[in-house]
């Protein structure tokens, strides 16, 4: 039996990073990620962190340092949030296109403006097409397990891409839960040392990395990058199986289904709101409504076949987004799911919900209203064009 501890999401992320033994860590504090940096520097002070740890002057430099370190063959880790991610966009995009298997937790926080420090995955979702693998998790155990797994996925020779493990700011980062810890020996067996073969800055094997490159080679690089994204779905499932053999816990790969076997209606979720939705699925089931849930874990690569297969079982669905897609005026995940269904020839009544922005609470009442709206629109056989906003009445809010 593994050790059981009580910890918040940030401590779970820092603990996973410590267990993975990255050779280089560079980080800059930003709310709500700050405690991750504090925990790691504390581990370093106590001598329990087996890494070169540097506290940098910006997120731009954090990702730049890790890019250099990864090009020199080191396993690398960092974490950030929101504006920090925006500041590192330049080296962020480049880390994926240079095929650097860096692991970064994103502690999801709303993008400003308005000025806000609270939760919401707008930060990382806006960057979904920057070439990274992005996995979104639901609770602190999943943060720990997935962050450890992320190194295996990133460094797999079939993948060689950087990985984000994203978790909701405050709801998970500062919430305390029970977490089972694998031993160092278990993690060492699960994660062999990283050996860079595709590119390496080493005077014993001089090579130029990223010289000026013609368009036809740029196209070759992009095509191979996409093939690596596609391969990552299989690797994700494989890594989950190995991890299950080690710990007994499975996170089911790219999506997780809850009570979908005989469901008539489905809700699609991402991140910590999944917990409230599971509870409401049970409540609606108790009231005779055959509701099920599809949780998207892996947003990039997008598991379009799995999502289409899961939703092909129901009469219609809704998606709860804690983010917006300006211009589409729906949630981002809603658009992604609809695109997956179109490709599979499956046209179902659907509805886009937007709520929980800027850390606003998605209460059970609001989730219940959303489920009722799904049932109403699906029973009417209609897709609702405009996004439905989930919020509690407040004085002065229009």
């Amino acid at each position: 039996m593994n050790e059981i501890a009580v910890m918040n999401g940030n401590f779970a992320a820092a603990t996973a990073a410590r267990l993975a033994r990255p050779e280089v860590i560079a980080a800059y504090p930003i709310t709500p990620q700050t405690p991750v940096v504090e925990y790691l520097t504390q581990f370093a002070a106590e001598g329990t962190l087996d890494s070169q740890m540097t506290e940098v002057e910006s997120e731009h430099s954090a990702m730049s340092i890790l890019s250099g370190a990864s090009m020199a063959g080191a396993r690398c880790y960092t974490a950030t949030s929101s504006q920090g991610l925006a500041l590192m966009y330049e080296p962020y995009f480049r880390a994926s296109t240079l095929r650097l298997p860096i692991v970064m937790n994103i502690v999801n926080r709303e993008m400003i403006s308005p000025q806000s420090v609270w939760g919401g995955p707008q930060d990382s979702l806006t960057l979904r097409d920057a070439g990274w693998i992005q996995i979104y998790v639901e609770d602190n155990q999943e943060i720990l397990d997935t962050t450890i797994q992320a190194f295996r996925i990133a460094e797999d020779p079939r993948v060689l891409l950087p990985v984000n493990v994203c978790y909701d700011g405050f709801y998970l980062s500062h919430m305390t839960e029970r977490v089972e810890l694998p031993t160092q020996k278990q993690v060492d067996g699960f994660l062999p040392p990283y050996e860079a073969k595709h590119q390496i800055l080493d005077p014993r094997k001089p090579m130029a990395i990223d010289p000026l490159t013609n368009g036809y080679l740029v196209m070759e690089y992009r095509k191979k990058h996409m093939a690596a994204q596609a391969a990552a779905l299989g690797v994700l499932a494989e890594v989950d199986r190995d991890y299950t053999a080690l710990t007994g816990r499975s996170w089911k790969g790219a999506i997780d289904e809850y009570r979908m076997d005989d469901a008539e209606y489905a809700v699609v979720t991402l991140g910590s709101v999944t917990g409230a939705c599971r509870e409401m699925v049970d409540a609606k089931r108790a009231a005779g409504v055959r509701m099920g849930l599809v949780k998207i874990r892996c947003l990039r690569p997008f598991p379009r076949a799995a999502i289409a297969a899961a939703l092909s079982k129901v009469k219609g669905f809704g998606v709860i987004d804690r983010n917006v897609s300006f211009g589409w005026n729906h949630g981002i995940i809603y658009q992604e799911v609809k695109a997956a269904l179109y490709g599979s020839g499956c046209s179902l009544p659907s509805i886009s919900f937007i709520g929980g922005l800027g850390g606003e609470d998605l209460t059970l009442d609001l989730v219940s209203q959303a489920f009722d709206a799904i049932v109403a629109s699906v029973d009417a056989g209609k897709t609702v064009d405009e996004a439905v906003w989930l919020w509690s009445p407040r004085k002065g809010v229009k």
Partner: protein, 305 residues
């Protein structure tokens, strides 16, 4: 080994086929520096002239015999810091070196470089300062001298215009970070440059920074055959003094006791040709003030010692 022997016997680490302009003294500087640094070197060439002429390479071919890469314009110092950390983690050593233009150093790259200086990451950072973004047709940088014509500080037909501000005294800014080694250098003083690179290689903790002043024949309007002469005149007029500083202890390495008038330097450069006597005199005055400040720093350093 004498400097002549060093340069004659050491291997040229840069491809013979790179396409720098006629009279380019940056290419000369790079080849010289790389002979001193030798094969156990990892080289970062951010976007700029030396990237443009092919030192990092083209498609799948390298322009250098050592490991070389393009950092971004603004993260050269931090990418190198990461390489150093990785090498430390693996218990290995190599020269971890930037060869970066002034745009990648004094403008967009300054934050990353200042961060590396403060944290004491052990890298060698060499800036080739040609006072602007030369490989894209000479746009102004914050290193460009006052009065200079550039493509973004143009001059009217009546001769009005040019850059309105003085350039940063960047090596002095770096010296004020209290780093183990800062030096200025010139392609007209190769033995001085070679010795300073050797000094930089001896630094075992922290940043070594060398700022080379490289007048640009193409961008500034200098006859290619006068490339080295104009570089030397920058030193002899005190426009660009050659010195070194260790943890704020300064020493002038090429003293200029009797400076030539600044006009001897500026009159050979087309980018200053629209300036009147007073404006040229102002350039000389600023150079003199900076030189006096430097002499004061040297005097205080020797008094402390």
């Amino acid at each position: 080994m004498s400097v002549v022997d060093t340069l004659a016997e050491r291997e040229d680490m840069i491809s013979p086929g790179i396409s720098a302009c006629i009279g380019c003294n940056v290419e000369l500087t790079l080849r010289t520096v790389m002979k001193v640094l030798g094969p156990n070197t990892i080289l970062a060439i951010p976007p700029g002239c030396m990237g443009g002429v092919g030192v990092v390479g083209w498609n799948k071919r390298s322009g250098s015999k050592v490991p070389v890469f393009f950092p971004l314009l603004d993260n050269t110092a931090s990418m190198l810091a990461g390489i150093r950390l990785a090498y430390d983690a693996k218990g290995r050593d190599a020269n971890v070196v930037a060869f970066a233009g002034d745009g990648a150093t004094v403008d967009a790259g300054f934050q990353a470089l200042s961060g590396v200086a403060e944290r004491g990451d052990r890298i060698i950072y060499i800036c080739y300062d040609n006072e602007g973004y030369m490989n894209t047709g000479y746009q102004r940088s914050s290193s460009t001298s006052k009065g200079s014509w550039t493509s973004t500080t143009p001059v009217s037909k009546e001769g009005r215009g040019g850059k309105r501000q003085n350039g940063k005294d960047f090596p002095m800014i770096m010296a004020m970070h209290d780093i183990p080694y800062v030096a200025t250098a010139s392609p007209a003083y190769i033995p001085d440059l070679v010795r300073k690179v050797e000094e930089a290689m001896k630094v075992k903790e922290g940043l070594a920074y060398i700022h080379v002043y490289n007048p640009c024949p193409t961008g500034w309007g200098i006859k290619p055959e006068e490339s080295i002469m104009v570089s030397r005149l920058a030193v002899k007029t005190r426009f660009f003094p050659l010195y070194e500083a260790r943890n704020r202890k300064f020493r002038i390495t090429v003293p200029v006791p009797k400076p030539l008038p600044v006009r001897d330097f500026t009159s050979r450069i087309k980018k200053f040709s629209h300036l009147n006597e007073e404006e040229i005199a102002d350039l000389g005055k600023l150079a003199e003030e900076r030189y006096l400040f430097l002499e004061g720093a040297c005097a205080r350093s020797s008094a402390d010692a």
